[in-house]
């Protein structure tokens, strides 16, 4: 997963005191943003990814008791989930390898 990066360009709904030059400002007629997008679209992946991360890793109903321990910090949740899931895969994989070795003897 790409690490979260601070958005390098942010649009405000009004011109900032120090206007930033952006690719969008050079277009004669920029298209209107889709209804679900930000008021003025920044580099969309950053804004959308931030919403996705916030919504799914930091919000929502918690069903598993397993993930409750990892709620102290979003980064920690990410690491813990990743480590937990990755470890589960590796355990399953190494268990399968051990069984195959035993079967050959």
């Amino acid at each position: 997963m790409r690490g979260f990066r601070k958005p390098s360009v942010r649009h405000t709904t009004v011109p900032a005191a120090r206007p930033r030059s952006t690719p969008e400002l050079s277009l004669p007629h920029p298209p209107p943003p889709p209804s679900r997008e930000v008021v003025r679209t920044t580099t969309e992946p950053e804004a959308s990814l931030l919403d996705v991360i916030d919504s799914l890793l930091n919000k929502g109903v918690v069903l598993n008791a397993d993930v409750i321990l990892a709620l102290a910090d979003v980064d920690l949740v990410y690491l813990r989930l990743s480590a937990l899931l990755c470890a589960a895969d590796r355990v399953a994989d190494s268990t399968r390898r051990r069984r195959r070795r035993r079967a050959r003897h």
Partner: protein
């Protein structure tokens, strides 16, 4: 609820303890990745469009059907109340960028309890004056509000629960208020989204949690 066609191959909507759960049956945990997060986000957004009340579940939830039924059975009053709260509503989000607004640096803690109290206070989200004005601008539309301390350049994140269809009006109100402020707060408005930030903490009471079962 009529599932969107593209979800019918992977998502089941099943009755669970008097409510309905949209589930995806998987053989093993889904590894965390940007693609996996985006996929789940898209699914929840599609389900939100297909029904008038939905409570998204946090990423990574993997349970047996029996475990799910037990959780829903135990926490049904909380879930039912939360569903009624979000029925016919959607979420808008304002992120205000910049340094965290706050008070002076606290004095050195005299005790462990004091230290923890200071940490708890410093973790609370603090709205700057421009942020407060933006929030007041949309207060007539907000059925509920949730404010989080931001991170990574985000000063604070504000979620509002609004009636479905009010998203454009919400944006116009924010924009109108922002234009009157000098300097204008650096912010971005996104949405509408399913009500992620208004899903309840179902474990906050003293009710017994179900025993963790084997998958």
């Amino acid at each position: 609820m009529v599932l969107p066609r593209r979800l019918r191959a992977t998502i089941d909507v099943m009755p669970v303890a008097g409510l309905f759960a949209a589930v995806e049956r998987v053989a093993e945990p889904t590894p965390l990745s940007e693609d996996a997060l985006r996929r789940q986000h898209d699914i929840v957004v599609s389900l939100h469009e297909a029904t008038d009340a939905i409570l998204p579940v946090r990423f990574g939830a993997l349970l047996d059907i029996d475990e799910l039924a037990e959780v829903v059975r135990l926490r049904r009053p909380v879930l039912t109340q939360a569903l009624e709260r979000v029925r016919g509503h959607e979420q808008m989000t304002i992120r205000i960028f910049g340094q965290r607004a706050g008070g002076k640096r606290p004095a050195a803690a005299s005790s462990g309890k004091d230290y923890l109290r200071q940490r708890a206070t410093s973790a609370r989200p603090v709205l700057s004056e421009p942020g407060k004005r933006l929030v007041r601008a949309v207060s007539s539309l907000a059925a509920a509000e949730s404010i989080d301390t931001g991170r990574g350049g985000v000063q604070v994140t504000i979620h509002h629960l609004i009636r479905r269809g009010d998203g454009d009006r919400y944006r116009r109100l924010v924009m109108a208020r922002a234009t009157t402020q000098k300097p204008a707060p650096d912010h971005v408005v996104t949405g509408p989204w399913p009500p992620f930030a208004f899903a309840p903490d179902i474990w906050s009471s003293d009710s017994e949690r179900p025993a963790r079962g084997r998958r």
